[in-house]
Subunit: 350 residues, 3 copies
Amino acid sequence: MSKTNPGNFFEDFHVGQVIRHATPRTVTSSDATLYTALYGSRFAVQSSDDFAHSLGYDRAPLDDLLVFHIVFGKTVPDISLNAVANLGYAGGRFLAPVYPGDTLSAVSEIIGKKENSNGTTGVVYVRSTGYTADGTEVLDYVRWVMVNKRDAASPAPDPVVPELPAALDPLVLGNAAPLLDLENWDNDLAGSPFRFDHYAKGEKIDHVDGMTVEEAEHQIATRLYQNTAKVHFNQHTEGKGRFGKRLIYGGHVISIARALSFNGLGNLFHITGINGGKHVAPLFAGDTVYAWSEVLATADLEGRTDVGALRLRLVATKNRPCADFPMKSADGKYEDGVLLDFDYWALMPK
Amino acid sequence: MSKTNPGNFFEDFHVGQVIRHATPRTVTSSDATLYTALYGSRFAVQSSDDFAHSLGYDRAPLDDLLVFHIVFGKTVPDISLNAVANLGYAGGRFLAPVYPGDTLSAVSEIIGKKENSNGTTGVVYVRSTGYTADGTEVLDYVRWVMVNKRDAASPAPDPVVPELPAALDPLVLGNAAPLLDLENWDNDLAGSPFRFDHYAKGEKIDHVDGMTVEEAEHQIATRLYQNTAKVHFNQHTEGKGRFGKRLIYGGHVISIARALSFNGLGNLFHITGINGGKHVAPLFAGDTVYAWSEVLATADLEGRTDVGALRLRLVATKNRPCADFPMKSADGKYEDGVLLDFDYWALMPK
Amino acid sequence: MSKTNPGNFFEDFHVGQVIRHATPRTVTSSDATLYTALYGSRFAVQSSDDFAHSLGYDRAPLDDLLVFHIVFGKTVPDISLNAVANLGYAGGRFLAPVYPGDTLSAVSEIIGKKENSNGTTGVVYVRSTGYTADGTEVLDYVRWVMVNKRDAASPAPDPVVPELPAALDPLVLGNAAPLLDLENWDNDLAGSPFRFDHYAKGEKIDHVDGMTVEEAEHQIATRLYQNTAKVHFNQHTEGKGRFGKRLIYGGHVISIARALSFNGLGNLFHITGINGGKHVAPLFAGDTVYAWSEVLATADLEGRTDVGALRLRLVATKNRPCADFPMKSADGKYEDGVLLDFDYWALMPK
């Protein structure tokens, strides 16, 4: 029996199966610092213990996407080592703040499985949960991936396709943010004069700035998440592959776009839910990422007058500024240069 | 009204104006570690809690230039987003040690303003102050920048040009260093047998080593400082610009040169003041930085027998070793390859 | 007298000489995080305070090789600045766990010296010891380096060549790991179902994955270790040198190979001893590192039933997958692409 991890194939998954992932990791302020250095994020709540504490947090929580990437990374060796494609996300909920000193672990449950008509691949639906050492759930989300079959001749299982929400109900979100002492929210320190009521459904914001990505940067980030997907790291094999180069982890694009979105959404301090996300095109080192946002909806949170929720579409492009809000063309296809179409809920003070 | 920050133009500044900057940031030992990894700095006081504590510090303070860069970075979105050039520094004073756990914020006051004769730009003089959460001032400095006018037709303001010191009086410096328990200063651990009395005015030191800079390195550093100046990050636009490539943050050059200067100035443990600095030429990724120093003056500090102050000119070059101390040619212009001419006071044990 | 460090030449060393090195450094969780981000290491004991504490550690100790690199780095300015080659290692012992907050220093003793027949160089044998602020020795090892003579005419000293063990006795190792509470060793969290008894002498394991190295990565790593060897950092001079490019620190290769070896040796949580190591060929940025291991021996530790020791040969290659376990060809020479032949003892739970 081989000592190395061959990854799981389509046949290896069964609905109801629970997989406890390696490696637990204690996150520290150093993860926050390195995250800042990799993306240039400037949200005050995640940057300053004092700012966060004055609002009601214990101290500065880790960036929500950093938590997402660390949890996601743990699932890779068990879920997507033999994946052909990461097809989508749904129902991502941030359930509790994560602070320096917390140890993050992850567990996944297989919630659906359906063979493709070609008989060589199938789609596996997985709900993954990140939790801390005392069992507190900090994040859960569903993703579905196309996975190779080990043996094309193995029989197709009965298809099980879970019902997934197109969007989360904002009322069930927000538990990862304490009730804020709004008197201490300082727009100057936060970097934006615009609060919840300044934003309206349909509004589009070009985030203006662009960020060029280097191989060393995305590799350092992806290893920080202990994400072992081979395509991000091995030029020797990728050089002979479809693109001739290493593929950048899709989560890296989300984090760059989120950091760029500070310019226009500076007070949007906390992601509460991920409705869905599509990696439209691959990103490579040397490309420059731009981003724009559209307000898809606004919502009040039950029992909370301190914050409101914005539902946003965050679109990232490569080598294409976003003054014209590039998205889909008349034929329904994404325009050239669009990298990411990400749909999420986030909180802003009122 | 646009949600994104358009930056301030010449007309937007007025003398006496006070600007509180985003984003406060809690610095930690992780900033110190990343700084070490980015520059290879080896000064013992900033590297070892035990060494620093034995001398009278609470623990290892953050590197002075790291503090400078973090404070400087905060001023960029408000002061220099529309800057044509960073013209100079003066009167920089390090006022208190910064320790891991401190939260740094910055505020600026506009102290002067003068339109240029071309009518399209002007010079703005700014005093910026960095402080911790309890209000302790840790750094202040003046810089002046050339900023675009929004409208060339707007009338020129009455010129106000502040009087700035050509050099700081060393007697007013030094408060950021405790009285040192010199018995615990161990030359072997510090890495140099040379103390204050070994250096004399006029002495020149070639720091010998060279350091090649990579895009990923300066981008990671500049984002660590949350400095958003566009020219450092966007190859898509810079590729079509004057140089065809990203410009490296001038402060990155200062930090490389300071780290190289350990070889020759190993006991120069603390920068107390910045008299002035000029970025003579741009640095690009792939270039190799060298440095040399000249002792411009030596001084005793009133009431202190533990340390003396050296006033140094720190010169950095690119792709040019410094055995011949490259500086200005006969016509008064800087020689080819000179990047930086930096004038500062720093302390060395006696 | 020059203020800069000229490094020591062959004549400057004498047997019995003790050299206390600069710069003491307080290591923190930030070093662990950056190490993870640079190599992608996934060993649970070094990643999770909770996992480590449940087994008997105070908290997650720093990676053994990180400790090695930091101690090694301190010796460079005094031992190998004028080195022609790093010839070998022997007798490396990890003596106590190193935790965040510890301050690491290093001292070396010259234990042998022999001039080469060419009269221009000689070999110096050095035992280096790393210790924490309270004097606890955490690591010692011997290395021998070929060093230039300052003056070819200086007389050859009486040769002193120390007797060095070809391999360490595993019984004298293991003190840096506490007695483990094995009930808490969770294979799922650790990432491997294979324990000590699953491995047998002669077994070979291809670690499958490859990791491409970037200039920014090895420079950041090598500066993190405050290793100043010029060949790693200066493209301006190395571009004109033998290889035309910067040489990657050999320790970087060891750490990449060790991180890759997680895939196949996931429960091998702690390196106890380094029997020897040979850097067979240079590594350059852009190359992809692969690795394989061979179990050279297995051993019980006296008085311990919790863990056993594996003696392993860890071989790294560049741009060459290791399915065929590349090593030496019939003529006894290393095959093309082999980078590293590293012989070490490490512990695995029973």
